[in-house]
């Protein structure tokens, strides 16, 4: 179990800055996720941690020890790749045992540890199979067993679930999380799937163009997005552009928008706005309501589409050129073409600096 720290980590590929001065601290035993669209540099960052890429600038520390130039085979990291990367000429047992053989453990000790790892990933009895005799899910479990059997300081996952089908992905997600907590190994996980990142991580960093846009717990980044990119990338929102009128009572501001004057609060604590500033207001679908309380913002919405999602209705509509997404209780009767009045409390309308 180690604490990982990077300081101004930078990696360039020719003209492209894949990782741009990234400074992060990942705690002992933490499940930390790097989330971002493809090409945002999250995989390159992970590969720097693994030692597979040498950063152009910046340092990497494991528990205070500088490992920036330590070659990958001396870093003691277990890595799981998207394509599983099982060695096709070895059976399941040998794939898992390889790292232990390198460490020169005695045969019976290797056998014991491989059995332990196989039990952990629920693959007992498949020792003699070769990789091509396994399903995708089983292959990924072997890859996982191979990474944890060496009891690494750090576990690194590069989009490990994206080749699995949806149902299996959900199962594996829960299992990965359980395993990681059981073993307590500091983990860095890379994915472009925001739902996966939200459900699996202790904390996550959202990346764009090689830069960290925000670091926080899933709840923090969802409820308190630091910028428009994060608000847009995590979950869904209704976005309304506007101009700040002024602060009415801290922290509530008044904002002029195309759907009228609205009351909103800064999305991120401590950020202040001045009159005349361009802002974007963000409202989460579940924060709309059909019942207005005094002081709420309200807007007239023309319904374009209604989707029944089991526990609620998802309503897509438009209000003076603004696209609106709202979640309403499933027992209300709303149909396409209706004009409804949606309300949102000022504290649920998040004010973000315009870009």
């Amino acid at each position: 179990m180690v604490r990982i720290k990077t300081v101004d980590l930078t990696k360039r590929f020719g003209e492209v800055v894949a990782v741009d001065r990234v400074s992060l601290e990942i705690e002992h035993g933490e499940f930390f996720t790097l989330l971002g669209p493809s090409g945002c540099g999250k995989t390159t960052f992970l590969r720097c941690i693994a030692g597979l890429e040498l950063p152009d600038e910046g340092r990497i520390y494991f528990d205070g020890e500088d490992v920036t130039e330590v070659p990958p085979h001396r870093r003691d990291t277990g890595m799981v790749f998207q394509n599983y990367a099982l060695w096709p000429h070895m059976n399941v047992f040998d794939n898992i045992a390889y790292g232990l053989k390198i460490r020169g453990l005695p045969k019976n000790e290797i056998k014991k540890r491989v059995e332990w790892a196989l039990e952990l990933v629920k693959l007992k009895g498949l020792e003699k199979r070769t990789p091509h005799q396994l399903s995708g899910g089983q292959q990924q479990r072997v890859a996982l067993a191979r990474a944890i059997v060496i009891n690494p300081k750090v576990l690194l996952f590069d989009e490990p679930l994206s080749n699995l089908d949806a149902k299996l992905r959900l199962e594996m997600r829960a299992e990965l999380r359980r395993l990681q907590k059981e073993l307590g190994i500091t983990t860095i996980y890379v994915t472009h799937d925001q739902e996966e990142a939200m459900s699996i991580s202790d904390r996550l960093a959202i990346m764009k163009d090689g830069k960290i846009m925000q670091v926080g717990t899933p709840r923090e980044v969802y409820d308190r997005p630091a910028n428009f990119f994060v608000a847009d990338f995590i979950g869904q929102s209704t976005f309304i552009e506007g101009t700040v009128v002024g602060e009415v009572s801290s922290p509530v501001y008044e904002v002029d928008t195309s759907v009228g004057r609205m009351r909103a609060v800064p999305s991120f604590p401590g950020v202040s706005f001045s009159p005349g500033e361009r802002v974007i207001l963000a409202i989460r679908p579940e924060n709309f309501s059909l019942e207005c309380l005094g002081g709420d913002n309200s807007m007239k919405v023309v319904v374009h589409h209604v989707a029944f999602l089991g526990k609620h209705l998802r309503v897509h509509g438009e209000s003076d050129g603004v696209k609106v997404i709202a979640e309403l209780p499933k027992d209300v009767s709303v149909s396409v073409g209706d004009v409804i009045t949606l309300c949102a409390s000022p504290k649920e309308v998040l004010m973000i600096k315009g870009e």
Binding site: L52, R75, A85, W87, Y98, G99
Partner: protein, 226 residues
Amino acid sequence: MNFQAVFSDSEAVRCIVNSVIFSAAATALMVILGVSAAYLVSRKNIPGIGLLDLLVTLPIAIPGIAVATGLFLTYLGTPLSPTISGAPLLIASYTVRKIPFTVRAVFSGLEQTDKTLDEVAWSVGASKPRTFFEIILPLIALNILAGGMLSFIYSMSEVSTGIVVGDANHRDAPMTWKMYDMLFHGLTGGTFQPAALGFMLMVLQFVFIVGANLLLRKRATPLIGV
């Protein structure tokens, strides 16, 4: 009949043995150099590494007789002179001229072996040399075998250097020189004995090329010809 005549001619037998020894030695060299070159080109991101690729492929474009006379004139009178022993020049010439077959076959194998297989081995603690021998080598073994077979059989049938060097030193001459010698200076048997030798070579080539193709099948686009 003609085969009997060939095998009772002690010089013909010696030439066949020469060809096999020199080709085998050259193949060993080609495998070591070829696998190294293919590995560097496929796995190392060194600027200008493409030149190495060109260097080991280019010999196909150079006429054999140019390589042969070049080597012959350069080393004539030196300790490696073909008049002392034909072996060094023949082995060198085979290696230079036939290495593309090994390199191409091995390179295709490496390109089909995902680089994450190397990376995951490093991550569990295997050094780069260890990863090469225990992970990569077993996975490209068939490509090496097939490439080596092609390089070997094309060395056996190499003509240009064989005749130039063989003429200077009959003791170390390969079988291709013997065929030429029988054809133009033969006292008995006319064209039949060299034809018998040629037929043997042809059958051998057929077997090796088909064998290499079967081994490679979808693992590479084999380089045939020249």
